[in-house]
């Protein structure tokens, strides 16, 4: 197997090495396309079968009002989450707040639960007969304000964690140089935060997409949103997937707008601040601000776990923990298997595509846009596409097993791996890879010996985040989980219908416990060792 150029024979291995990056990117892209593009194509075919009938919905003023309302709500939720998450990210990531790692973990708890369970927890707290509730709190909770506050608090930990990761990735040399002349506040605002700006932009995209596609909490709080209109076409009596898809056409410009927003927030500046030094440095001393900052951090942590504590109290007082075992079956194991496998595949896609996106590969940008589109497409609609593609006699080994959950998770959450790793690579100096390439080092070795070691923390975080998203997923899994193999979130949701509240609460707490254990292990692995 050899080709000739100008009479010289080029061995197959050399040709393969030249095309290595393209081949690996194609494999990662293929995984993404099989998981996400095929269902979207199936949906497009469904749309064509409806014809122009589906488009008449866009002639109705109400449709536009709902869309505008949802976009506005997701914008405000994003602003709230950023306002909470950015300062906390810096405080948890780089300052000397006492017990900041534990506080960070507690603050992250809302990320581990499906939002509807958190809403249930807040309801037990602030409903009319809640632990702290009354008429006024119930009125506030069941309003647009309640929805914004609840979703803002739910999604803020994602911002916090991404920003903390961003500031932790900054080369300590830059920070140490700044600390010789500037106060901690200026170091944080002039060095750390600007350097972590890609993480902030990513957080804004992730939160706005999550807030826009959220359905369970608005339904619980009786706030009308655009997703309810979509769901009414799929969950109503006159099953009309074509109309639901027609309603989703604006998601294409919304996805493009989100990518544009991220590009605008990140700008075209260089963020190559992730250096060769990976060992830790001393935290920024807050001095006289240490006490108030610590109070803020620990209050945020306590506020975040308040709904979980509320669920725990409900479970404990009703004997829910004792009764929970008979309702568990294999649900936790099903969820863990599917989430672990999915997170590994997402990490592979994320590393390859994310790296290429950060290095401005045109093909990778298409894959990136596909991942964003699949993320903002409501899970219920994506699920219709997945059923259409995979429910065939020849593919029962996928559709009838946990593999179908993996397909769905990869489709929906690949964006997490891609965007997290892209933001990490954006902080990595490109000249290191360029030097290696000039020395004849192939793509695989550059990835393995330069990109991954420098971005190891980011890769681990991407895996962890993808794992958490998959494990807490409800809306994707509930549509096509294999009979008898539901993950724990689905079991909690289906049991919620007339199930004993203490048991439902206990299962929710158990779910938090499982996720927190995995997160804590990841946390320990991610911690840098103290300098020798």
């Amino acid at each position: 197997m050899a080709a000739t150029v100008g009479g010289a024979v080029i061995p197959f291995r050399l040709r393969l090495r030249r095309r290595e990056q393209g081949i690996v990117l194609a494999v990662a892209g293929l995984v993404l396309c099989v998981a996400a593009l095929l269902p979207l194509v199936a949906l497009a075919a469904e749309l064509l079968s409806v014809g122009t009938d589906g488009l008449r919905l866009w002639a109705e003023r109400r449709t536009w009002v709902l869309l505008g309302r949802s976009l506005l709500l997701s914008g405000v939720v994003t602003a709230v989450a950023l306002a909470i998450g950015i300062p906390l990210g810096v405080l948890f990531g780089r300052t000397d707040v006492p017990g900041r790692h534990l506080a960070w973990l507690l603050h992250a708890f809302p990320m581990f639960l499906p939002p509807f369970l958190l809403a249930l927890g807040w309801f037990h707290l602030f409903g009319r007969q809640g632990f702290l509730g009354g008429d006024a709190t119930a009125r506030v909770l069941f309003s647009e304000f309640g929805l914004i506050a609840l979703l803002g608090l739910t999604f803020a930990p994602a911002v916090t964690s991404l920003v903390a990761l961003g500031v932790l990735g900054v080369d300590p040399s830059l920070e140490e140089a700044a600390r010789t002349t500037a106060r901690p506040w200026r170091v944080a605002t002039r060095i750390l935060l600007p350097a972590a700006w890609p993480a902030v932009a990513l957080a804004a995209v992730v939160v706005s997409a999550l807030a826009f596609s959220e359905l369970g909490v608005p339904m619980f709080l009786r706030v009308e949103v655009f997703q309810t209109a979509v769901f009414a076409r799929l969950g109503g009596v006159d099953y009309a997937p074509g109309e639901a898809i027609a309603l989703l056409l604006p998601l294409v410009p919304v996805s493009i707008a989100l990518l544009g927003l991220e590009a605008w927030l990140a700008g075209r500046r260089s963020f190559e601040v992730l250096g060769m030094r990976v060992r830790s440095r001393l935290p920024l001393p807050l001095r006289r601000w240490r006490l108030p900052a610590s109070i803020v951090c620990w209050l945020a942590a306590l506020f975040s776990i308040a709904p979980v504590l509320s669920l725990a109290a409900r479970a404990a007082w009703g004997g829910g923990f004792r009764a929970a075992s008979q309702w568990l079956r294999l649900a936790p194991i099903n969820g863990l298997i599917a989430a672990t496998a999915s997170a590994c595949i997402i990490l592979f896609v994320g590393v390859v595509v994310g790296h290429a996106v950060a290095r401005r590969s045109r093909a990778a940008r298409w894959f990136d846009a596909l991942a964003v589109l699949a993320f903002v497409t409501p899970a219920s609609v994506l699920g219709v596409g997945i059923i259409a593609v995979w429910n065939r006699t020849a593919t029962q080994i996928v559709y009838g097993t946990l593999a179908i959950l993996v397909v769905g998770f990869v489709a929906r959450y690949s964006v997490v791996g891609v965007r997290v790793f892209a933001s990490v690579v954006a902080q990595t100096p490109a000249h290191l890879e360029a030097a290696a390439a000039a020395a004849g080092v192939g793509y695989g070795r550059r990835l393995a010996r330069i990109v991954l070691p420098l971005g190891a923390r980011g890769a681990a975080f991407a895996w962890l985040l993808a794992f958490v998203f998959c494990l807490r997923d409800l809306e994707t899994a509930v549509l096509y989980y294999p009979p008898g193999r539901e993950p724990l979130t689905v079991r909690i949701f289906t049991l919620e219908a007339n199930g004993p509240e203490p048991v439902v609460a206990a299962l929710g707490v158990l779910h938090v416990g499982i996720t927190a254990t995995v997160a804590a292990v990841g946390f320990l692995l991610l911690r840098r060792k103290a300098p020798a």
Binding site: F123, V278, A388, R485, E486
Partner: protein, 352 residues
């Protein structure tokens, strides 16, 4: 640098582990080849799962179930059945109400099966050809929080939902989903379009709260967020267990208040249906035989407060006999067709 390379190896091992897990998933697929009956059910999991486990224990046949969620009940699994029509995964559909099966019957997705257990089910609660057979039934009731009445009379009719006396203090579940859709369709079937639409619009003017589900209505009433709400007997009985402040009212039982006041309450038997083309139909028939037994009705009465349709099934005190209740005279097939017909109007009513 050695540390980073070690981390890289750990990462590679993690990815390798993921691939191994996928192999495990394939093994799961192989295990799946073991004969099992797949049932989709919109009967609450908390009640249906113990019965399916009992069948497993008695027959030795493995049961794999898909349960519905409260928000979409019972339409969620029905729509999944429709979406999977080209390659049915389920063999049995145990519906929480008697009208959803008609959506499948219309599409030719049902295999008639006249189970021996259906012989003693009264006419009107089964199809003689065996396309559907009713069992353990629920009723639509008003759940009232006595503590929030504040001296006002106890609501006795569904018409009270539109009474200005209760403005902003009553709740129903979203009529686009679940048994509330069926109830609204029954109003259209009984009252006709004009009166039913007038009533629905009056609900809106009276600021009736639209909850996401019947379970949510129960939660609102128990929590005292509203004075009363329209829900199903199983939710209502759970509410009574949770709180001594609430009571169940079977609406429209009073003949003295005229035709509307005495129109009776809607009865909704759960129904068993055999899916055409589903795997292992022989096992599906055995499951249907079991579901239609008097023993299952007794269990459903005890655990879920469902009213038995078989004669002489012992019931707890709080479960009423269908014969002791004034019931709404409806044709379930007609209600099913009304339910589909009014959907566009209902979506408009709901602002969606």
């Amino acid at each position: 640098m050695f540390e980073t390379i070690r981390r890289h190896k750990i990462l590679a091992l993690t990815i390798g582990g993921g691939i191994l897990l996928l192999v495990v998933l394939m093994l799961f697929g192989w295990i799946r080849a073991r004969p099992a009956v797949v049932v989709y059910t919109s009967v609450d999991q908390v009640f249906s799962e113990p019965i399916l486990r009992r069948f497993e224990g008695d027959s030795g046949i493995c049961v794999r179930a898909v349960f519905d969620t409260e928000e979409t009940k019972s339409t969620g699994v029905v729509n999944r059945l429709i979406a999977e029509a080209q390659s049915p995964q389920a063999t049995v559909f145990w519906s929480g109400d008697p009208v959803r099966p008609f959506l499948l019957i219309e599409r030719g997705m049902v295999e008639p099966y006249a189970s021996p257990g259906a012989r003693t089910i009264p006419e009107g609660f089964k199809d003689t050809a065996g396309t559907w057979t009713g069992l353990a039934a629920r009723a639509r009731v008003l759940l009232v929080n006595r503590q929030r009445l504040a001296g006002r009379p106890v609501p006795r009719s569904v018409r009270d939902l539109s009474d200005p006396l209760w403005k902003g203090e009553a709740a129903i579940a979203n009529p686009l989903f679940g048994t509330t859709t069926m109830h609204v369709a029954a109003w259209f079937s009984t009252w006709g379009d004009d009166e039913a639409k007038r009533f629905m619009n009056a609900l809106k003017e009276n600021e009736v709260r639209i909850a996401s589900s019947n379970g949510e209505v129960k939660r609102l009433v128990v929590a005292g967020e509203v004075v009363f709400g329209l829900t199903d007997t199983d939710d209502a009985n759970e509410a009574v267990k949770e709180s001594g402040a609430v009571e169940i009212v079977y609406p429209d039982q009073d003949l003295s208040t005229g035709q509307a006041g005495g129109m009776g309450t809607l009865i909704m038997p759960t129904t068993a249906v055999l899916i055409r083309g589903g795997p292992h139909p022989d096992l599906g028939r055995r499951l249907i035989d079991f579901l239609l037994s008097a023993e299952v009705e007794r269990l459903m009465a005890e655990t879920a407060a469902h009213m038995p349709l078989h004669p002489n099934v012992p019931t707890p005190d709080h479960v009423r006999w269908v014969g002791n209740i004034r019931t709404m005279a409806v044709d379930y097939a007609h209600v099913a067709s009304e339910m589909e017909r009014i959907q566009p109007w209902l979506r408009q009513w709901a602002g969606l």
